[in-house]
Structure formats: structure tokens, C-alpha cells
Symmetry: C2
Subunit: 372 residues, 2 copies
């Protein structure tokens, strides 16, 4: 049985337990959901229908692409339904023999107006749209990586680390001078090593722009690595899975304020990484770091981190809020990224990827604050 | 009065006409909406509140960034509301003095579960979530470019055309050999000319991969421009606005099937571009092209085109469906992109950007099918 089939079986089991006859998953522009890639291998733009009798029907935008990449019991081009999701849903229910009156679960992020339309157009069925449910089941499935995924993470981490070393060398030698040179170098070196691209637009922000959490524009022709703090945040994608790391480059002269930021971010990072272990509620991790910054009268304007996988931001969330809390489990892969930002001193962030184990965590990547 | 202020005034006028006390706009990960940039200059990740008494309150994720880029009557960092949209909404309603019981319009793409939560948490107000309404008003406003935007489009088109010429030369000279070299070249040349980045990930697909509508991965280390059909689809962003063009490179030997695709795509392009004029329903444009392909027993698996602007896909839509139809108006900027794809012959697409005028259209970009 393939990994895709195993993952679908998990969802079929869940459907049987909940009495759901059909689940519809959507991946489209503006509503990306890599669950379809996780379940079938299809890399993008499709609807996926899973039925209670354990059959999968994929409706891809690009049928030629799906014939190469996707594993599903049946394929129908989206064009046959005029690329209308509700038309495809009605046809899928018919084709998969979903009994009238039974429960169909549509995406939990379906807009309220679209939900009303769906209930009207598919009035023969019981349409369900909610958070939690199969969406949490998919998040949980994706959050705890299987052997195949962990093997991919070892590979993408190795590539990421090679490129971190090269970056340090080239920047020290003055061979990569501008933000754009640094960003293109990473992308090109990744692709040479078999990466399919970047997990998100690389952020390369020299000292005058590193105050931004996500600098805008994400990189320019300006100097990178000059006096002060420069931030470099990138992720390489291999076999669909992205790494996500941030390096800070600190070049003399540094102000007291900058030294304080570096020291606190390193402390926060050490604290958080030492806490990771199976059974820990993610909010406790985030609270510890927010507490450390707070006791120094500073605050971090973003979450401490997040799970990574087929998307750069996945479950589990790692933030200091009472909603969407998770408990760490072996096999989860996390990016921890404590950071501080100041309009005068610039920004400092350090981010690595961790595999949660029974006893603690294994750090997969080797980014750090580099003093030039 | 700034362009941003003028645009906000338009929305205030609409609100007055509709009796809406407060509008909430959201731009967040997975739910990008550049309307906030259009109305304030803030490039990303924020909530924007517009009140009936003509005040704007911006709640940015990154306050340092907003202080540089954003024009709004008030700024409050999102962190003050624990980055929770409903908490920010309740506070904004309070702060802007929105009377209890009055109508608050939340994003039309708000999920059904979130809508229920909003109605519960803000039970003192009349919460409205619908399609059309202010969302269509914003689309309309953005679809018809003002003088400032048209000036930016002249600039980004000029840069795009310079790079098209360079590309043709370098590819002919054999200086850009792989898909990745081509993609990095465009990005680097764009940034040299002041572009802030790419409007979407460049698609550079050599003959073995051009059958994909959007090739996956979008570019690799493989050969570009070898025998057969290669597709190059990119957009450069200047001042926030993206161009969107596609070149096909055709290199001998070409099969009869490939020659037929080239000839039909050129015919479809000529037909569509000759039809553009103020007053034309967009569906008629799409139907004409689908009809041409259909009479040759072929079909195009995507829409004929789309408006462009702060996002690569904007109003007006240009497809052959009965929903979301538009009528062309002077000042709209469109990308027309007829294309055909075949698993054996590969793909052929040609795409240029047009400014709709009273009499017809002005073509802004100079992409074409280039025979190598």
C-alpha cells in the first residue's frame, strides 16, 4: 500500500466513525490546501472527493499533470464541470453513489455566501461546513510525519545546511554583496541539488530593512551583511516539503541595543529548544519565550513558530493564545523562530527546524546568528 | 487629496448609499486581498476598518512597516488584539463610535463557521457577510485604473519589454540555457530596473514540460528553448502593479501538430485582441476564442484572460461562464492568454497586456511566439 493510500485510509476510517458519506477538499488560487498533494501526490489546483466506500475521485484543473503525478481511483478534468466547484460536487456525489439525505462535508473555510448556495443547489444532501472535524484530522495526519516524510526532511535539511555553509563563506569573502545576489544564490544552489523551488519568497533584508518582520520588498539590490543586523529567512522545497530557517548576520560596529537583541534572541532560542519534548502543550513553549522577552520590556510581534511540511505554515501552531492549542508528539517537525525588531536597531531572528522525539528534539538545521 | 484618499472616498460614498456603518477588510496569509494596499499603501498583512463618518483605522501585523508605507487616519498594532480579527473588529467598532444595532460588513469570503462566531461575539451589531456589495465596488474601483496606475503600467510594461528583448537575444545566443537561468535572469534584470519582485512564480518550461498549463515545478535545471515548444510566463512588479506576459519559443524541428497549435494560438490571439473595446461583455470575448478552438476540435483548459493590477488575477474576469461577467471599460488593464496544451506536442501560449480605450485597446507589452 502506498503512503498516499495509507493516508487516505486514515481519512476513510475517520469518515466511517463520524457517519460522513463524502468529503470534498479544495486546492485553488487564494485557498491553497496541500492536503490534496498529501493524499494523492497531485501538486496543485484540484478538487478531491473521498467517499465512505473508500473511493477517491480527483478533479484536476490540469489533467495532463494529474496523469503524471496523481494517485486516485478516478480522474475527471475540472473543465467537464465548467470549473465550477458545486457542479463538480453534485456530479461526484452522483458518480460515487452517495445516498440522498446523507452527510457531505465541504471545506471548513467555505465562505458563508457559498455555503448558502451549496445548501440550495445540493438540497438532497445534508451539507456540513465546520471547523475541526476532518480538517483537524488532516492537520493531525500531516503534523506527525511518517517515515517517508522524515526521510525527505533529512534530505532537505542536509541541502539547507550545505547552503547555509556556502552562504557564510561567500558572504564573508564578499562574493555575495546584495540582498538579491544572496536570494538568487540560495534558489540556484537548491535547484542544483534537486529542490523543486522555494517554500516562500526568500527574505533577505540588509541593516536598513531588517526591522520588518517580513521585509518589503522581500529582497532588493541593496547591500546585505553591512554594519548592523541583516536577516535572511528562506525555505527550500524537496519532494514537496519545505525547510524554514532564518540566519541573522551581525557586523561591527554594533550598538548596545543591537547586542542586547542578539543576546535575548539567543537566550529565547536556547530556552525554547531545550523545552521541546513529547507531551508539551505548544502554548507553554510560546509563553516561556514571551515571558522572557516581556521581563526585558520587549515583545515579539509574531508567533514563536509553527509546524512545517508541504506548506511553510502547518500544524501544530506554536503561539501564546488560547485557541488552536496543540500538544507535541514524536514525529512532528517544527520551526522555532524567536525574533525582535526595532525601527532604529533593525531586526534579529534565529530559526531552525526540529524533529520532536520521545525524549526531546533533534535539531535538523544549522542556522545561527553569524558575526561577520 | 492623495490617490489613496480618493479611493477611500469612493468607498465611503458607497457606504453612505447602502447604510453601512463599518466595513472590515482583511489581508492575511491564505486570504490575500490587496484592496488594503490600494486604499492605504500598506503592502500586506493587516485589517482595515472604514467607518461611515469617513475615518480609516489600519491594524497592521507589522507596525514599523505601516509607519513607513501606510496612509490611514489611525494605526493600531495587531498585537494589541492578540492578532485575533474579531477582537480587533469589536475594538474598532467601539473606537470609531459605530452605533449599536447598525450594519457592519465583514469580508464576503469569511467562512461559515467564522461568520457564526462573529454574529455571536458581536451580537450588538447587524453583521453582514455577502458577495457583491462593497467587494464588487472595490473590484470595480481597482479594475478601472486611475491616472496614477496607468502611469505605473506604462513603466512596468516598458521594463517588461526591455527584458523580453534581452531574453530573445540571450536565448538565441545560447547564453541562457536552462529554465532556471532564464527565470533568475528575468528577476535580476527586473530588480536592477527598480522592480520590487515578481507578480507570481515564473513559469519556464522547456519542450518536455510545456504541456502543463502551469508547469510543475515552475522551473528546473532542464534545457529551455530546445527543439519543440518552450513556454515562458512571467510578471514583473513595479510600484505594486504586475505585468503578466507569456512567450512561446518554437525551435525546429516542429511537428505538424505543433505548427497547428502555433497557428491556432496566433489566430485566437489576433481575434481576441481585435475585439477588445469599451462596452464589450467579457464573456463574448472568451466565447469567440473557445469557438475558434472548438471548430478545430481543440479546447483551452483555462480562461482566456483576466484583469491585472496589484494582484496577478483581478477583475474583470474573462471567461466563458455565466457568472462574474463584466463589461469592458476604458482604463481597464487586461492580460489575454490563449493557449493549447498537449501531452505529446507540448504547450503553446501567447499573452500580452492591454489597456482598454474608448475606441479599442492599446497593447502595452510585446510578447509573441518566437521562432528560434
Amino acid at each position: 500500500m502506498s503512503w498516499y493510500q495509507k493516508r487516505r485510509e486514515r481519512i476513510y476510517d475517520w469518515m466511517a466513525g463520524e457517519g460522513i458519506s463524502l468529503v470534498m477538499i479544495e486546492d485553488s488560487e487564494g485557498r491553497r490546501n496541500q492536503a490534496i498533494r498529501w493524499l494523492t501526490g497531485q501538486p496543485g489546483d484540484a478538487l478531491l472527493f473521498l467517499s465512505a466506500d473508500r473511493r477517491s475521485l480527483l478533479v484536476p484543473w490540469d489533467i495532463n499533470m494529474a496523469r503524471i503525478y496523481a494517485e486516485a481511483d478516478a480522474l475527471i478534468p475540472y473543465g467537464e464541470f465548467s470549473r465550477r466547484p458545486l457542479k463538480a460536487l453534485a456530479a461526484a456525489a452522483e458518480r460515487l453513489g452517495v445516498p440522498r439525505g446523507s452527510r457531505i462535508e465541504i471545506p471548513g473555510d467555505t465562505s458563508y455566501p457559498r455555503f448558502l448556495q451549496c445548501v440550495e443547489e445540493l438540497s438532497d444532501y445534508d451539507i456540513i461546513c465546520r471547523e475541526g472535524s476532518v480538517w483537524t484530522e488532516l492537520q493531525k495526519g500531516r503534523a506527525v510525519k511518517d517515515e517517508d516524510e522524515i526521510a525527505i526532511y533529512r534530505k532537505v535539511s542536509k541541502i539547507t545546511n550545505e547552503i547555509i555553509s556556502l552562504l557564510e563563506k561567500r558572504i564573508r569573502q564578499g562574493k555575495l554583496k546584495t540582498e538579491a545576489e544572496v536570494a538568487f544564490f540560495i534558489d540556484a544552489e537548491g535547484r542544483k541539488r534537486g529542490c523543486e523551488g522555494m517554500g516562500f519568497e526568500t527574505i533577505a533584508a540588509g541593516p536598513s530593512r531588517s526591522f520588518g518582520i517580513h521585509a518589503f520588498p522581500s529582497f532588493t539590490g541593496e547591500q546585505f551583511g553591512g554594519p548592523g543586523l541583516s536577516i535572511l529567512d528562506f525555505g527550500l522545497v524537496f519532494g514537496g516539503y519545505t525547510s524554514d530557517i532564518t540566519l541573522t548576520f551581525a557586523a561591527e560596529p554594533l550598538s548596545k541595543g543591537q547586542e542586547k537583541m542578539i543576546s535575548l534572541v539567543e537566550k529565547a532560542y536556547a530556552l525554547a529548544s531545550s523545552m521541546i519534548k513529547s507531551g508539551l502543550p505548544t502554548r507553554e513553549l510560546a509563553q516561556a519565550v514571551d515571558g522572557l522577552f516581556g521581563s526585558n520590556k520587549l515583545s515579539m510581534p509574531h508567533a514563536l513558530g509553527h509546524g512545517i511540511g508541504l506548506q511553510a505554515h502547518e500544524a501544530p501552531s506554536l503561539h501564546n493564545r488560547s485557541e488552536n492549542e496543540w500538544v507535541l508528539e514524536p514525529g512532528m517537525i517544527l520551526a522555532l523562530e524567536p525574533g525582535l525588531y526595532d525601527p532604529v536597531h533593525g531586526g534579529c531572528r534565529m530559526e531552525n527546524d526540529f524533529l520532536v522525539t520521545e525524549e526531546g528534539a533533534e535539531v535538523l538545521t544549522e542556522s545561527r546568528i553569524i558575526r561577520l
